[in-house]
Symmetry: C2
Subunit: 351 residues, 2 copies
């Protein structure tokens, strides 16, 4: 039975930044983080972007001022990059790649540089990308030397006949596409290495967040992307939900785009990203209703911790999460906001 | 653009057996294979099983009498194995594993022994399994020495905290579970090796079918599984839809179980297996309506060739496919049938 291994490989969600919180999920009872959360609706926007840097146990007590500031700065830089493209009539896909590239290059997030370590003390990265106009997608799993896995995911969609490439094959493909290849040591961040050694000693598998972006451009096209280092101390070449279309990433111009973060196995089993789109498409739910139903009812009931960021065809934004915190932000032509903690509203700073 | 590679890596669906057909898809116009097809409905059944051995270009002209007979014999043996379990009050999951194991061990199908070869002339196998009562799942991707990948998929669900394990890691896990490990040469079938050499010379990637089973037991529990060798001449450690929960396999006791076969990239992009369940759940469609809508409207419009076998919570069976043929069969406590060609009805032999 699953419980045999679950006993020794205790899976807990930890925050995505370098410090670690040891809160007991069961003790945590911050209602506001479990309630619906959405950015401005009802106002007509010309473009809209949502980003995340991982859902987990971020609380004011567990995060230093320094990390708090660094994360907000990075989230804003990612939003700037996406907005800079969309405000000039650029396409949603370019905005998604630009925002995620910034988060991948920042060691505060578990994606690209800053990725967590496997049991074998390696960094194995996963990413996926979907274009909601073409309903086409690309993904890479378990890659170790591609500087920006999100770019490889998009290249798989655009330049190969496949959707999902893995390991050495995916790396060979990325090289053929002239993407930047780095020595695997590029990804090494000492605090992440310390974390996996601690996790190994305790026989724990720790979930450490993900980054993602969904954008809707002025022409109504939606794109979504997700990138991660996966779980600290993961084994057996485990692949989570981040490179799985329908689980970690989904985009459909007729409904919405979604990027997930959380305990990946639950997001795969519940086809979370596709399910939100299906509830809008087949049941007529709004983005807010659909995303909250999946995250705060279905997933929560099943014990699946995490959250999503979503943007719908009209530019509405929803960022529900059933964890204490989630690094998140949004920008439209009307306003922008970033937030970390569950009880923190997305600041609505007018442009 | 994708077209650059699509030009040299021409993807065609070919039949799953050892002979090869060279029919032009565009010339094919067998309406009956595109119409809805379903096994007995309206009669109350105590158990129900559907199986497939791959959708593709099976026609009476392209398949020898010998292969026709061997395939029907194997499909019936798989149905026997599943029925033997379910008629004695066994569980759906055991029936799925027993049926797929028989198809994996038979060189006539592209799964287990008989798997197609990659560009590097290796056999890389994918499989997944889902339990519709627990909404839990397991899968393996790109494994080369596990005799029955479907058993490894179920073990991932039952004995690991993960859903998807790949490559060497998945093999190490399977070994730790005492599953039968074979020398990779076990999977070699000469005709498959000849086929990949021909495909390499022509720079083609050929889709070669899959095997799958969905079962509903007397207690109303549904399980589904899928196993494949993937595409002939695949590269870059490509993973298709077969190990992807929501694309190749899905099971939910409240709706249905689904196993897919066809051009995997389309099945991933359209989250085919989950979409059929969602249409039943959120739009109130019957199994027949939902599965036909996805295969013969959505997928067909997008150019995605293939089919599914499905069993719903009441034991109804549907086996739509938009290809000329699909190796398929079903059995309930009332009747059984097997078929290969598109214009062939599932024979309804009374028990």
């Amino acid at each position: 039975m699953k419980s045999i291994l679950m006993g020794t490989l205790f899976v807990i969600l930890a925050l995505s930044c370098n410090s670690e919180a040891s809160m007991d999920a069961k003790k945590y009872n911050n209602k506001s983080s479990l309630e619906k959360e959405s950015a401005p609706t009802g106002e007509s926007v010309s473009y809209a972007v949502a980003i995340h840097g991982g859902a987990g146990y971020q609380t004011k007590e567990s995060i230093s001022n320094e990390t708090d500031l660094a994360v907000r700065k990075a989230l804003n830089a990612a939003l700037d990059a996406a907005e800079n493209i969309l405000s000039k009539n650029g396409v949603a896909g370019d905005a998604v790649i630009a925002a995620i590239e910034i988060l991948e290059n920042d060691p505060n997030f578990n994606a690209g540089k800053g990725a967590v370590f496997t049991n074998e003390e390696r960094n194995e990265l996963d990413a996926s990308y979907m274009d909601g106009a073409k309903m086409d997608a690309g993904a890479v799993g378990g890659v170790t030397n591609i500087k920006n896995p999100i770019k490889a995911a998009r290249a798989v969609m655009e330049e190969s006949p496949h959707v999902l490439l893995t390991g050495k094959g995916a790396e060979e493909f990325a090289k053929s596409q002239m993407l930047e290849i780095v020595d695997p040591s590029y990804f090494k961040v000492q605090s992440r290495l310390d974390a996996v050694r601690k996790a190994k000693a305790r026989k724990e598998v720790k979930k450490h967040g993900t980054v993602g972006c969904v954008a809707r451009d002025k022409n109504g096209n939606i794109a979504a992307g997700t990138s991660t280092g996966g779980m600290t101390n993961k084994r057996w070449n485990r692949i989570g939900d981040s490179p799985i279309i329908g689980a970690g990433t989904y985009a459909n111009n007729n409904t919405c785009g979604v990027s997930s973060t959380g305990h990946g196995e639950f997001f795969i089993r519940y086809a979370v990203a596709h399910d939100i789109s299906a509830l809008m498409d087949y049941k007529g739910m709004s983005l807010e209703e659909a995303s909250n139903h999946v995250i705060n009812e279905k997933l929560k009931k099943a014990g699946g911790e995490g959250g999503v960021i979503c943007v719908d065809k009209d530019g509405n934004i929803s960022t529900p999460h059933n964890t204490p915190g989630m690094y998140r932000g949004y920008v439209t032509d009307k306003s922008r906001g970033v937030a970390i903690y569950g009880d923190e509203e997305l600041q609505k700073v007018e442009h």
